[in-house]
């Protein structure tokens, strides 16, 4: 009896300390979020309703709680807004179309080359985002391989070029965000128990049906994660439009960039940022609801 008692007494102590450990582990992350996310966000919200000080020098603003800033910001830039979402959507779809077969092949068909292929998928990250985008400009450029191949096969006329077009922006974004699409899809395909596919075959489903009814639905968490990881940064991106586009392909990121750094119109930049964030949040909420991933394993 004494022995059992001693046992419970010692067991309860680490139990109580154990209750605190999860919170202690969360602490650094929470502090980080507070410092670098919550506080800037409050600052941003505050800036977004300011107005210029009458007669003051450029870049000096006072708080007047002017919500009209939002209406103005949106109505002046609605074209860039919709362009951002259309480009981001196109890039996401393109990336999905390229990534899914790629991830599928790596997960199921690559054998001993699996790790090498995965490294190759991530390899572009070893060079800077900016350099990669500039390189992409050269690839699509007049002397680049894409144009010459297309011209050789008379798929485009001798005067058509790709650089400084919407196409270049979308392909650039597709390229830049491809790993964000490939890796989550790979991860969820990899996790699927191959015996489920065998079971499907055993239950009279041929290869295609097995893919439609078993493999693809089970890879949905990866598809949802991948599309979000591609769409969200793509919608806010400005580097691709800047380097690969022209004035008519400006995205909302470019507007925010120029408002903030060039025109020093902080309130409008802040209002645009907030609007973008809200729009993305609404879109992905609807999307996740529709995809119903929380029901998936």
């Amino acid at each position: 009896m004494a022995f059992a008692h001693a046992g419970t007494a010692t067991a309860s102590k680490p139990g109580r300390a154990g209750m605190r450990i999860p919170y202690l582990l969360l602490l650094p992350g929470l502090l980080w979020l507070l410092m670098f996310f919550v506080l800037p966000l409050i600052n941003l919200a505050e800036t977004s309703t300011k107005t210029p000080i009458a007669g003051g020098e450029t870049g000096s603003y006072e708080q007047t709680f002017r919500l009209q800033n939002y209406v103005d910001a949106f109505s002046e830039n609605s074209a860039q807004f919709s362009r951002s979402f259309i480009y981001a959507l196109l890039a996401t779809l393109l990336a999905l179309a390229i990534s899914y077969p790629l991830a599928y092949a790596i997960a199921f068909k690559s054998g001993k080359y699996k790790n090498i292929l995965l490294v190759l998928v991530i390899a572009p990250f070893f060079t800077s985002f900016l350099l990669r985008t500039i390189a992409w400009k050269q690839i699509l450029g007049e002397e680049g391989p894409v144009i010459s191949i297309l011209r050789t096969f008379h798929l485009i006329g001798p005067d058509t070029s790709i650089t400084a077009t919407a196409l270049a922006v979308v392909t650039g974004m597709t390229y830049n965000f491809l790993p964000f699409m490939t890796l989550p899809i790979y991860a969820s395909l990899e996790r699927i128990d191959p015996r489920l596919m065998e079971a499907s075959g055993d239950l009279y489903a041929n290869g295609l049906t097995t893919f439609r009814r078993v493999t693809f639905p089970l890879s949905m968490p990866g598809v949802v994660a991948g599309t979000l990881l591609t769409f969200i940064p793509a919608a806010g991106d400005y580097v691709n439009a800047q380097i690969l586009g022209n004035p008519t392909t400006k995205m909302i990121g470019n507007v925010i960039d120029s408002r903030f750094f060039r025109i020093v119109d902080y309130p409008t930049a802040a209002a645009l940022s907030f609007t973008l964030m809200a729009a993305i949040l609404i879109l992905i909420t609807v999307y996740i609801r529709r995809a119903g991933t929380d029901e998936l394993v």
């Binding site: 015996r195 489920l196 075959g201 239950l203 489903a205 078993v214 089970l218 029901e295 394993v297």
Partner: protein, 379 residues
């Protein structure tokens, strides 16, 4: 109605010289097997002996290196798995986690283009007594329930052949016994040929009409549970199914249907039919429960061995287990029912052993006495 794959292809399942090698490792070695239509057939063997591989070849999930598979007169060897009238209950159930129980069970029917799946699915769910769980997802089910759904998902298709790969392995003993009875009942109810893989000898014995004992990719012996137990042809089978005492002996003479064997100096009789060896030197097997134990000098019938000394006694409720050392320094194991028939014995007592000749079986003298023991111990 769409073509039902089973319609034409029924009959006995026949494996003809089936071989499967992985690299230079022979997982299944030149296997010949006929499984009669409508039977409950068990494939029993230790871990790694090739049971799953054999099953996968029948299901079409693995391609035999050589050999043929027939169902009735149809050659299935090159038929894709989704075209075979065969369904499998997988070792880990392999239920589709994204589908409800109802849709899991309806999967095979839908793939065959059957429009009205509601009735057959509900019927089979009622059969496995899980109709109330139809809208749940597999992860919301207990292991035993998942197992029954896996069976339901397979038998709803009325395949010619149902393959079960250790479907009860993950269940606790009580649930396993209950499921064994249910499976056996379902099999009689639907009349489908069941091929049941297991490494649990008790499971195989209680469920199957016919058992094939497999070892290292080959079939050691095939027969009814009683036949395998009473008349094992190899030490492996004798050890894998139950326990045995093996005593070395040599054939002295044969007269009519009886053989006389010199068993360590004592002459005993064995029905010739129970000797599966043609050699002169034999390994004589006697199951522990076949021995009777007597005080020295008591009257005995049948064969008799004298000069034993009790070295250990353990009481296990329904029976008592004795360890008896024989004059040739071999320890024998004897089980006696606790029905008052056995004398009151203590350690060190001298005893005489007797048994009926027809409970003896004889194997080749060069059989390995310990073969199959590791597998049996692992149980």
């Amino acid at each position: 109605m769409a073509n039902h794959p089973d319609a034409a292809k029924t009959g006995d399942l026949k494996l003809s010289s089936i071989t499967k090698s992985f690299g230079d490792f022979l997982a299944v070695d030149d296997l010949d097997l006929v499984i009669p239509k409508g039977s409950f057939f068990a494939l029993l063997g230790p871990s790694g002996c090739g049971k799953t591989t054999t099953l996968r070849m029948i299901a079409g999930l693995e391609e035999p290196t050589s050999g043929k598979i027939y169902l009735g007169d149809t050659d299935l060897t090159d038929t894709k798995s989704y075209r075979r009238p065969v369904n499998t209950v997988f070792q880990n159930y392999a239920l589709f986690p994204h589908l409800t129980i109802f849709e899991n069970v309806a999967f095979g029917l839908r793939r065959r283009g059957i429009k009205d799946v509601k009735e057959p699915v509900e019927k089979v769910l009622a059969l496995v007594e899980l109709a109330h769980l139809r809208d749940r997802k597999p992860t919301q089910l207990s292991g035993g329930q998942q197992q029954r759904i896996a069976v339901a998902r397979a038998i709803v298709n009325r395949p010619a052949l149902l393959l079960l790969d250790e479907p009860l392995g993950a269940l606790d003993l009580k649930l396993r016994r209950q499921m064994q009875i249910e499976l056996k009942w379902i099999q009689t109810e639907v009349g489908i040929t069941f091929v049941h893989v297991t490494h649990d000898q008790e499971e195989a014995m209680t469920m199957a009409d016919t058992i094939a004992v497999m070892n290292e990719g080959r079939i050691e012996q095939l027969g009814s549970p009683a036949d395998l137990y009473e008349n094992p042809k190899t030490a492996f089978v004798a050890n894998f199914l139950g326990q045995s005492n093996f005593i070395k002996g040599t054939v002295e003479s044969t007269s009519g249907t009886d053989q006389f064997v010199n068993l360590q100096g004592t002459r005993i009789a064995i029905p010739a039919a129970r000797n599966s060896s043609t050699h002169k030197s034999l390994l004589v097997g006697i199951r522990p429960e076949k021995f009777r134990i007597h005080n020295v000098g008591d009257a005995t019938t049948g064969n008799k061995l004298e000069g034993g000394i009790v070295t250990d006694i353990s009481f296990v409720g329904v029976s008592t287990q004795y360890q008896v050392e024989m004059p040739w320094k071999q320890e024998l194991m004897i089980f006696e029912q606790n029905d008052g028939g056995a004398p009151n014995l203590r350690k060190g007592d001298a005893v005489t052993l007797s048994w009926e000749p027809h409970f003896t079986f004889a194997l080749d003298g060069d059989e390995d006495v310990r073969s199959g023991l590791a597998g049996a111990d692992a149980e």
